[in-house]
């Protein structure tokens, strides 16, 4: 059973793939994809497998534990698939004609929705006679498992390791620091062992010095000398214990920092190697928290958790052994209740966790008010809703306080009770010890005062390790949860295949060719479907068409943010997959709709990626980009620091800085993605003027909604539903009266005229 199958079994309790008997029933037909309708028409949970095999669709249902063929029909018989959604289910009705009942009705929960959506998509492609280009590694079982597990794995951050594996992997980060670890661990063991000595010495002092002196068995000088030696021993013990504690703390805390440092380094380096597909799946906040707070939690666990738990275990075992060896009867009284105390702490921890969950829930209600009103304060004030918002906040604030008070009530009751329990054990020790203490020395079972004092001192050391062990489970879970989140990123493989060919400046002319390019973000739905074109070096191509048609996807493939699903993208005759992505991207310039400026000076932003660029070249680039004038008007000129996203500059100014950056990089291939759409007309003119200078001598792909911005394009591609619907010059496309481009142009003209009127 692979890990996906284990997850399906653990969480869903259903079959992880099409049963073998059904595969046999389909005979030699090649199964392309299958799904499961896990509800019946009365919305009861059921198992109906639907299999697309070549040109037929077959459904099998579970009837009293036996799988029987429900129906089988050819795809050509389907006229349409109707989808209806309810709050807890989706219904597909597969129709053959309006005046006929459905061929098949499939009802399924959200768990099956992704795979059933894929299945519907493939069936609809077949209905249109289009063959689906599947990747070589296509496997229907894996597709099924991946689709139904996706929401779960997304929630669990792709966790596919067992807890023990993750713990071992986490601890393996300690290996490079074996020396520090051994020294730190020895320090911990030594500190714990040494801590056991004072109690023994105290007992010895009473039994072998004080008592013999009082009975006259020892003269005063000798007694004093022995006492001083023992006190000296106590002093040396305390000093050495603190020394060992220092060794342990200093080594382990620094070691923890190094482990966190390694994790952060590895994480950040790996993040830079991941493709855009990863970043589109993950939220920015989630990625940042893995690099910051999760590595911090790991530091805490490595620096203190690992050793604390180890020390606590050693202490408990050591103390129990010492106490039993000192006096087995009293020792057993102390040691036997320990598991009960541990259990009580564990149960208290469980209870506290529930209370914390409640409080956390109420707390998130409270912070939701803040998240609503702080960013929307202008609206709150404009509608005079301050009082209502204060009331809403106060109400939730009070509820939170009640929950936190419940938490305080719980722990303030528990710990005195636990301490009382420990003291009752102590009292039991006293009760058992007193008759033996005041018995005659010659009597069997007599207990010396010194042994008892040692006992009392050892007993005071019991509570702290008990508490640590009681909290161990939660500490471990927190650290493992962070480790899962970190390892998920480290285990994500870059989606871009590695090429090693680097084209020299002479070799790279800027010719771009798409050959039968198909591309899909999710592996099933094609965004580009067999796109073919060849662009000569220095040519400017306009990409127009409706949103979602595939224009930006074409530019992302050229910049090699993704690899094609099938077909190839060639640059000057070389398959892009053979080229080293980083070296190639240096020759591709991008000017995007929302330019991103890093925190730093304008100068640093212009020469980002070219740290050796000199001032003269930066100024020249800024001049060409129509940015020099506004930069020099700023009090600190090129050394003006722009905010995290360049907030101190207007949209048009930021755009011109990004154009200057592109000019300085001197790219062979330039991508302009709606570069002028977010600015006013005057600024647009300035940017357009800058772009006109930038595009000279380069191969340009310009995505634009406003057709007027493509007046200089040599050719225009109209992209529709993943294909090039029309291609030609502006004039050629306009001459096709019913063409998409001509229609679009007419609409934009009408809008422009109505605006003038």
């Amino acid at each position: 059973m692979n890990i996906q199958e284990q997850f399906i079994d653990k969480y869903y309790g259903q079959s992880s793939c099409l049963p073998e008997e059904l595969k046999k029933m389909l005979g030699s037909k090649r199964i392309e994809l299958y799904g499961m309708a896990d509800l019946n028409e009365n919305f009861e949970f059921a198992n109906t497998w639907v299999v697309l095999a070549e040109d037929t669709l077959t459904a099998f249902s579970d009837q009293n534990g036996k799988l029987v063929k429900l129906c089988e029909f050819e795809i050509s018989k389907i006229s349409s698939i109707k989808e209806k959604n309810s709050q807890s289910a989706t219904i597909y009705e597969i129709l053959t004609a309006d005046d006929m009942p459905p061929l098949l009705t499939l009802v399924f929960s959200g768990r099956q929705k992704i795979i059933m959506g894929h299945l519907k998509y493939l069936v609809e492609l077949k209905m249109e006679g289009i063959e689906h280009n599947k990747p070589e590694e296509w496997n229907p079982d894996e597709e099924y498992q991946r689709a139904i597990l996706k929401p779960l794995l997304d929630a669990q951050n792709g966790l596919t390791d067992k807890k023990a594996t993750t713990l071992i992997r986490l601890l393996s980060y300690l290996l490079p620091y074996k020396k520090q670890l051994i020294v730190g661990a020895l320090g911990a063991v030594a500190a714990t062992t040494v801590a056991l000595i004072p109690a023994y010495l105290s007992g010895y002092l009473i039994d072998h010095v004080v008592k013999p002196f009082q009975k006259g068995g020892l003269d005063q000088d000798r007694a004093m000398m022995m006492a001083w030696i023992l006190i000296g021993g106590l002093f040396a013990t305390y000093v050495s214990r603190e020394f060992f504690v220092w060794v342990r703390l200093s080594k382990m805390s620094i070691l923890g920092e190094y482990v966190a440092l390694d994790l952060r380094k590895q994480l950040y380096t790996h993040l830079q190697s991941l493709g855009l597909d990863f970043y589109s799946r993950k939220q920015t906040g989630s990625i940042i928290s893995r690099v910051s707070s999760d590595t911090d939690r790991i530091w805490d666990f490595v620096a203190f958790g690992v050793v604390e738990v180890g020390i606590a275990l050693v202490t408990i075992i050591g103390l129990s052994s010492v106490l039993i060896s000192l006096d087995w009867r009293l020792g057993l009284i102390m040691a036997v209740p320990v598991p009960l105390f541990l259990l009580a702490i564990y149960l208290h921890g469980e209870k506290m966790q529930k209370l914390f969950i409640k409080a956390w829930r109420k707390w998130s209600n409270l912070t939701a008010v803040l998240a609503d009103t702080v960013p929307g304060i202008q609206v709150v004030k404009a509608f005079n809703q301050e009082k209502k918002e204060i009331k809403r906040f106060n109400k939730r604030n009070e509820v939170v306080t009640v929950e936190f008070n419940n938490i305080h009530r719980a722990w303030t009751r528990f710990w005195p009770l636990l301490m009382l329990g420990i003291q009752l054990v102590l009292l039991s020790v006293w009760t058992m010890a007193i008759p033996r203490l005041i018995s005659d020395e010659s009597e069997v079972g007599h207990l010396t005062a010194g042994t008892f004092v040692s006992f009392l001192l050892y007993m005071t050391m019991f509570s702290q390790p008990i508490e640590v062990i009681g909290q161990m489970a939660r500490m471990l879970n927190r650290a493992l949860s962070s480790a899962y989140r970190i390892f998920e990123i480290l285990d994500t493989k870059p989606s871009i295949t590695k090429g090693d060919r680097v084209l020299s400046d002479d070799e790279l002319k800027g010719e771009v060719e798409f050959k039968d390019v198909t591309f899909s973000y999710d592996g099933v739905r094609s965004i580009l479907k067999g796109v073919n074109f060849k662009v000569k070096p220095g040519e400017m191509i306009g990409l127009v068409g409706s949103s979602g048609g595939g224009k930006s996807t074409i530019t992302k493939l050229i910049a090699r943010f993704y690899d094609v699903t099938s077909g190839s993208v060639k640059i000057d005759g070389h398959d892009l997959r053979e080229l080293q992505a980083g070296a190639f991207r240096k020759k591709v310039g991008m000017v995007l709709q929302e330019p991103y400026l890093f925190h730093g000076t304008i100068f640093e932003n212009i020469c980002y990626g070219l740290p050796k660029a000199d001032m003269k070249k930066v100024i020249e680039a800024a001049k060409i980009a129509n940015a020099h004038d506004f930069i020099t008007r700023l009090p600190q000129g090129y050394e003006t620091v722009v905010g995290e996203r360049g907030h101190t500059l207007s949209g048009g100014e930021r755009q011109r800085v990004s154009i200057a950056r592109a000019i300085l990089h001197d790219p062979k291939i330039l991508i302009l993605d709606e570069a002028t759409s977010a600015v006013d007309t005057e600024t647009e003119r300035k940017i357009q003027d800058a772009l006109d200078k930038l595009i000279e001598g380069r191969t340009v792909f310009a995505v634009a909604h406003r057709l007027s911005t493509l007046r200089k394009a040599d050719r225009i591609f109209v992209i529709d539903k993943g294909q090039i619907a029309e291609e030609g010059t502006h004039a050629e496309l306009l001459s096709k009266e019913d063409g998409k481009y001509a229609t679009l142009h007419k609409m934009q003209q009408e809008m422009s005229e109505s605006f003038v009127l």
């Binding site: 949970f45 005046d99 459905p102 009705t105 959200g110 929705k113 779960l152 669990q156 949860s481």
Partner: protein, 153 residues
């Protein structure tokens, strides 16, 4: 009384006849929780509204019956009759439940709490977006209520 007709065809799809125009329709509720039988948006296959039913009483009896039959299905929410267990795992909470339609394990994120409805009902939305409803916690047995208490009280 409205001049529209709502009816089913043989293919089990719902249709609207408005004047002389016939539309295959789906129905979306404007207020699914508070006014489920008012302001029903009838939408064509392109998902554009073709008619807004403000109140069922404006329809003739046959249309009302057909629309009600459609809503029976589109309204369906699993009803929880018992909570067998609630286990917290890495980043998610796993509820083992029994519904009127059978037993099921559903998962939510740790910070996705059951939501309390104005009528005292409780809604749990799982990771896949499916809704599971408890009419009121009092309808559950004591053990179920105890298991849920952390998340709903």
């Amino acid at each position: 009384m409205s001049d529209v007709k709502i009816y089913y065809k043989q293919n089990r799809q719902l249709y609207l006849l408005k004047g002389e125009d016939e539309y295959e329709i789906q129905v979306k509720k404007c207020f699914p929780w508070t006014h489920p039988l008012e302001y029903l948006s009838l939408r064509d296959v392109e998902d554009s509204e073709v008619y807004l039913v403000e109140n069922l009483t404006q329809l003739d009896a046959e249309s009302r019956k057909n629309l009600a039959s459609y809503l029976d299905k589109s309204d369906y929410i699993h009803e929880i009759v018992k909570v067998v267990d609630v286990i917290e795992d890495v980043e998610l909470r796993n509820y083992k439940i029994a519904t009127k339609g059978g037993e099921r394990s559903i998962q939510t994120r740790l910070d996705d709490w059951p939501s309390l409805q104005d009528d005292g009902g409780v809604i749990i939305q799982d990771l896949n977006g499916d809704l599971f409803r408890i009419p009121t916690p009092e309808t559950l047995d004591e053990n179920s209520r105890e298991l849920l208490s952390t998340y709903i009280s």
